[in-house]
Amino acid sequence: MKHDSSLRLHIPESRFRPGDVPDFNYLNLPKAGVAKRPKTDAKASETRDLAYGLVRVIDDAGAAVGPWDPKLDPETLRKGLRYMLLTRVFDDRMFKAQRQGKTPFYMKCTGEEAVSVAQALVLNRDDMCFASYRQQGLLIARDWPVFDLMCQIYSNTLDRLKGRQLPVLYSVREAGFFSLSGNLGTQYPQAVGWAMASAYKRDTKIAAAWIGEGASAEGDFHQALTFAAVYRAPVILNLSNNQWAISSSQGVAGGEETTFASRAVGFGFPGIRVDGNDFLAVYAVSRWAAERARNNHGPTLIEHFTYRAAPHSTSDDPSRYRPGDEYQRWPLGDPIIRLKGHLMRLGEWDEARHTALMAELEAEVDTANKKAQKLGVHGGGPYHDPSTMFEDVYKEMPWHLREQQAELALFREKKP
């Protein structure tokens, strides 16, 4: 028989596409409580198992188990639940607003709320967050008013970004939230620089950055890891592996034969893979990484293993590229339902309180939304004065921009 020795090109492909019945047994998920918890000054080599394993705390019965149990008081747990719920209610309302034509664009983080909310509760408010576009939970958990976010989404007269940015590309310095870029991944090495500056100034603040598994293929990701390792920067590098980059599976980003957390080990610092839908696990791993950074032991890469329940954005229809019920079959469940279950098991929560909280948050979001829409929405205005588009290109406006500003004013006067 002739042996076929010709080369073959491997193209990663998602296991399940529309029409398939997803079966996630292949993931071989470790049980809650089995992952070891090393000291926060651990060497990269001591985190090898964590980089390939999965830190889980809440077990199938809703109990918190194992060495990573952060042993949070019920008050903090309820706070986490509240912020995650508020994030979801806010997302649903803004998605609807897009469908109503009030904003051209929106991005939900449904199913990924724990990734941002749990870490926000670990960080101090003046630690700088360099988020990607699916971490609105950070702002919500820092009590930044959803009303202000809505004004940005509607580009209305109170939009602090003056109608310059795509909806959801927030900037809130006051809440330790760095300006979002639409170019994915660029914020990752910037966070390292911010953290280096904090260390240079002998400050106590740390930085945290978020990236998706898709954008982790960018050079920015690898350079961030290099600089973070070389200068032992006090930074938490979060990677949200939500399985999907629009329609491309995480295999296309390089996750088919390895984990994303394991990248860190090669760079010389700890990488930890955590169940991103487990609020307690995300909290515990974030606290570990923050403690490590604050004690000058350097960076940590956290891979949040989660699932993007929402479409990528309002501009795509996931039923075209993945099975419609894939999220229902995701073996790690929903972060809100799981934390709720844990609280109920503790006897610190019940359905009546949950229903009341939902009603309260929906009313809060509705009130803010009505107020924001009154100030103007996409397609109808009112907006900021267009002449402001020439501001902030430079600190001081150079002559050529002054000229162009005058030219626009002239044109607007002549317009019928």
Partner: protein, 332 residues
């Protein structure tokens, strides 16, 4: 010029604890062109240090530091190596103030040796300034002598916007007018070779008159200022030579004032011609001085080819080509 640039950073490191310097080989070694020589020894490893060979990472880190409140100065070893950082410069540094409506800014300075005349071939000779002057939000500065180099670099470091500071590497050791066959000169005898020890700043956006004249205006910057001076002397034409110094923002009043006076304009740069910075200069002059012009505006530039290592002097826009253009404009 190397000492002048070194002195600018020395002055700023001493004045402002938020200034720090990093880049490839800039620490212990003092840089491949020696521009940061002795600074790490004087200010310590925390303030002057080596960086991984990753220009994009260097600029990104500088942006993060700038957002924190520092004033980082990054040395990009050759301007030719800046392209990996293009996204961080164009989409990030240049846009940060705008997209955050002034909440964050990137007060960073990127120093990069540019230009030819050293037989560096296509990856050590380029003049990429036109790629950056096209980007709103960035400032681009190119000195032509030691005195300006120091004052402009100090202004760049103090500036709250991102500044690309391109250093004509052929001028590091002395003036160069394109006559490669002549013995190498140092800055010792040059009027602008004398550099005061302490602090002084030259504002960005202001051109200098390198030679006063009545017959023709030559717009130049960097090494080409010296080439233009030589060509002027050789033709005997009474040209006015503007050393632009700052390409963005540009000193439009100096340009229009001179062209309105002379009625003729020649633009010279080392960079390739098509869509180069000279095209912008030509358009500005044409839009504003058309009725003063007595001859078409001409450009003398590098050819639209990569910089060919073996044909350095056929490529470099030397005094012969500039002189020829001067004569052509004067005949027009």
């Amino acid at each position: 010029m190397v000492e002048a640039l070194n002195s600018a950073m020395d002055v700023m490191l001493a004045r402002d604890p938020d200034v720090l310097i990093f880049g490839e080989d800039v620490g212990f070694f003092g840089g491949v062109f020696r521009v940061t020589d002795g600074l790490q020894q004087r200010y310590g490893e925390q303030r002057v240090f080596d960086a991984p060979i990753a220009e994009s990472g260097q600029i990104a880190v500088a942006i993060g530091m700038g957002a924190y409140g520092l004033r980082p100065v990054v040395e990009c070893q050759f301007a030719d190596y800046i392209y990996p950082a293009f996204d961080q410069l164009v989409s990030e540094a240049a846009r940060l103030r705008y997209r955050s409506a002034g909440e964050f800014n990137a007060p960073i300075t990127v120093r990069a040796p540019y230009g030819g005349g050293i037989f560096g071939g296509q990856t050590h000779s380029q003049s990429p300034e036109g790629l950056f002057t096209h980007v709103c939000g960035l400032k681009t500065v190119i000195p032509s002598n030691p005195y300006d180099a120091k004052g402009l670099l100090i202004s760049a470091i103090e500036d709250d916007d991102p500044v690309l500071f391109f250093e004509p590497k052929r001028l590091y050791a002395g003036p160069f007018d394109g006559h490669y066959e002549k013995p190498v000169e140092t800055w010792a005898k040059h009027a602008a070779g004398e550099v005061p020890v302490g602090y002084y700043a030259i504002p960005l956006g202001k051109a200098a008159v390198a030679r006063q004249g009545e017959a023709l205006t030559i717009l130049a910057y960097g090494t080409m200022v010296h080439v233009a001076l030589a060509a002027t002397a050789e033709t005997g034409v009474d040209a006015e030579i503007l050393d632009l110094r700052s390409l963005m923002p540009i000193d439009i009043e100096a340009i229009t004032g001179s062209v309105e006076k002379t009625g003729r304009c020649l633009i010279v740069h080392e960079a390739t011609r098509t869509s180069g910075y000279g095209a912008e200069l030509s358009a500005l002059v044409q839009e504003r001085c058309f009725y003063h012009l007595e001859a078409p505006i001409l450009r003398v530039t590098g050819w639209d080819t990569p910089y060919p290592r073996e044909f350095e002097w056929e490529y470099f826009p030397g005094p012969l080509r500039v002189a020829e253009a001067i004569r052509k404009i004067m005949a027009g």
